[in-house]
């Protein structure tokens, strides 16, 4: 079997060839290239193309963008006609030498689907151009025609390219995300700014989609791409959920996208790639979801509050002596509930502070006759509402039958926290200097409610004491239970 040394083939090619890497540094040149550029390989290998052959003008820009296109798209690109002057070495007289070239740039993969190098085959067409200036020579006519055709082709190509550049810029800055995938392995050949934002700025160009976005494996998208390529049928979805790495080094995050995969066809109608476009809808979907949650929660609270009010109403009516006292009691109880809601609302329904809660309920009474004393303590919403209602009943009873029903009676509310863990709230309500009291024969709704709230709902204990000195009660409630 014949084994060919391709390095020697490259070296022996009669046409000038060179290879540059992604930084446009020379990796290899052949002898023909050395001759045409009047440089040795030692001068060139490892050096930057534009350091050796600077060109700040239009030609330099065109050459650079041709290289960039090949690296970005993985597709061959050609410059049929380009004027590019190069510096003549000192030993050959120095100065700039006007040259005309025709170049073809071919991508060279790294074996993993990435464009690692570009091979340039360049032909010095200076002689042909000079011949054009001697157009009167009839026997050169054919060659001149050829050159004119090349120049015409280049002009058309440039116009097309400029148009393509405009589109590229539009796509690049479009608000929606756009990517172009090429071939059966879905190699990224284009990804706009919005797409890069979506995937956390990862370098994906030239990579297979499965390598570029490994976290998407198993979420059904690669299979959809395969199907679009196989069937030519477009597909997509709205507010589709996926987990995507949104920033370098981060865990994949829940993301929602509207997207479509549309087949790209070549001239023969064959599907060669996929046009990916869509919108990142994560924020919109999450906002919608938060609103839904808030509405559900609000509805739940309203319904529970209505159920509480309903219970207060029906039991107040049932236990009242007459309609007028029922109306007054009901009103006062609903207002107490409402004030507790105000306190909670002011703290985003997180908690209330016990001193504030007790003082608020007792605020209708003369300040000098009420003493409130206890450590600062935050209560959860449920305990807040429960204790507000309990305080309201105690305060109402004091005003109707107890110490606050006489001219000089006083109420003191003291509490402390138990030493042992888990802590208990130990609250003592004491009425003094009022009329003597005795236990009522029939327990009204108020005292039944206090009992129920404290022992049932709050899991604590309630002890009431009726004595000639006045009413007193002791409430113990486990906290964090």
């Amino acid at each position: 079997m014949v084994r060919i040394d391709f390095e020697r083939v490259f070296e022996a090619l009669s046409s000038p060839h060179m290879v540059v890497d992604r930084q446009l540094r020379y990796v290899a040149v052949n002898a023909a290239y050395e001759r045409v550029t009047m440089r040795t390989r030692e001068e060139m290998i490892g050096r930057h193309l534009f350091d050796l052959f600077p060109n700040e003008g239009e030609s330099g820009r065109r050459l650079r963008s041709s290289f960039e296109r090949v690296f970005a798209t993985g597709e061959m690109d050609s410059l049929p006609y380009i004027s590019y002057d190069i510096q003549r070495p000192e030993e050959q007289g120095g100065g700039m030498e006007q040259r005309y070239w025709s170049a073809v740039h071919t991508p060279l993969g790294d074996g993993e689907g990435n464009v690692a190098y570009v091979v340039q085959n360049t032909v010095d067409v200076t002689e042909l151009v000079r011949l054009r200036q001697a157009a009167h020579l009839p026997f050169r006519f054919g060659e001149i025609k050829l050159l004119e055709r090349a120049q015409e082709a280049e002009r058309q190509h440039s116009a097309l390219l400029e148009e393509a550049e405009d589109f590229r810029r539009l796509f690049q800055q479009a608000p929606g995300f756009i990517a172009v995938l090429s071939g059966p392995e879905h190699i990224f050949t284009f990804a706009n700014d919005a797409y890069l934002r979506l995937i956390g700025g990862r370098a994906v160009l030239g990579k297979k989609v499965r390598d570029a976005l490994p976290e998407v494996e198993g979420q059904g998208f690669f299979e959809m791409l395969d199907r679009v390529l196989a069937t030519g049928q477009p597909t997509g979805g709205e507010a589709v959920r996926l987990f995507l790495q949104r920033a370098a080094g981060e865990e994949p995050r829940e993301t929602f996208v509207d997207f479509s995969y549309d087949p790209i066809r070549d001239g023969a109608g064959q599907v060669t790639g996929i046009f990916v476009q869509g919108m990142d809808r994560t924020e919109a979907v999450k906002t919608q979801r938060r609103q839904r949650l808030l509405l559900d929660e609000l509805n739940h609270r309203v319904k529970n509050t209505l159920a509480t009010v309903q219970s207060i109403a029906s039991q107040t009516m049932r236990s009242a002596r007459d309609l007028e006292s029922a109306r007054a009691d009901l009103e006062a109880r609903i207002v107490a509930l409402s004030k507790a809601h105000d306190l909670l609302s002011a703290q985003q329904w997180a908690n209330t502070e016990l001193t504030t809660l007790v003082r608020q309920e007792l605020s209708v009474h003369d300040r000098d006759r009420v003493r409130v004393d206890g450590p600062w303590l935050l209560l959860d919403p449920k305990t807040s509402i429960a204790l507000a209602l309990v305080t309201h009943e105690l305060s109402t009873n004091a005003a109707k039958y107890g110490a606050l029903s006489s001219a000089n009676g006083k109420v003191s509310v003291n509490w402390r926290l138990s030493e042992r863990q888990p802590r208990d709230l130990q609250l003592v309500w004491t009425e003094r200097d009022g009329p003597p009291v005795e236990a009522p024969r029939r327990r009204g709704f108020g005292s039944r409610m206090i009992e129920r709230v404290v022992s049932g709902e709050l899991g604590g204990t309630y002890e009431a004491e009726f004595s000639p000195q006045g009413f007193a009660c002791r409430i113990n409630i486990p906290l964090n239970a």
Partner: protein, 136 residues
Amino acid sequence: MQPNEMPGKFDGLRIFVVEDEALVAMNLEMILEDLGCTIIGPAMRFDRAEAMVGGELAADAAILDVNVGGHEVFPLAARLAEKGMPIIFATGYDQSGIPKEWHERPMLQKPYTSDDVARALAQALPGKRPGVPTGK
């Protein structure tokens, strides 16, 4: 307004009540007493309800608040359903707050009336009469 059900239909029924809000529980108790039922509980805290479900619970049906002090009641419902106990859910949410497997069960949406409770009981205990033991 007269209840839709025959008076006395629910006499003597023992109803297990789980409801974490004292006032709502009091109202339900009052309604059930008016219907002639005996109340088992009410359990107002999850641990208490759990202990009662785990013990010798002699009840003909259960009315369960869906959310008991931040705990979902469904694990307890499953244990009661295993024993063949008819279950009624009470909730401030609509049906979307209840898992699909429970959608066949009667639901009381808060706030509910005495008629609503009677209807739910009739639905949970079709053809039931007091004193007839709950079979499987």
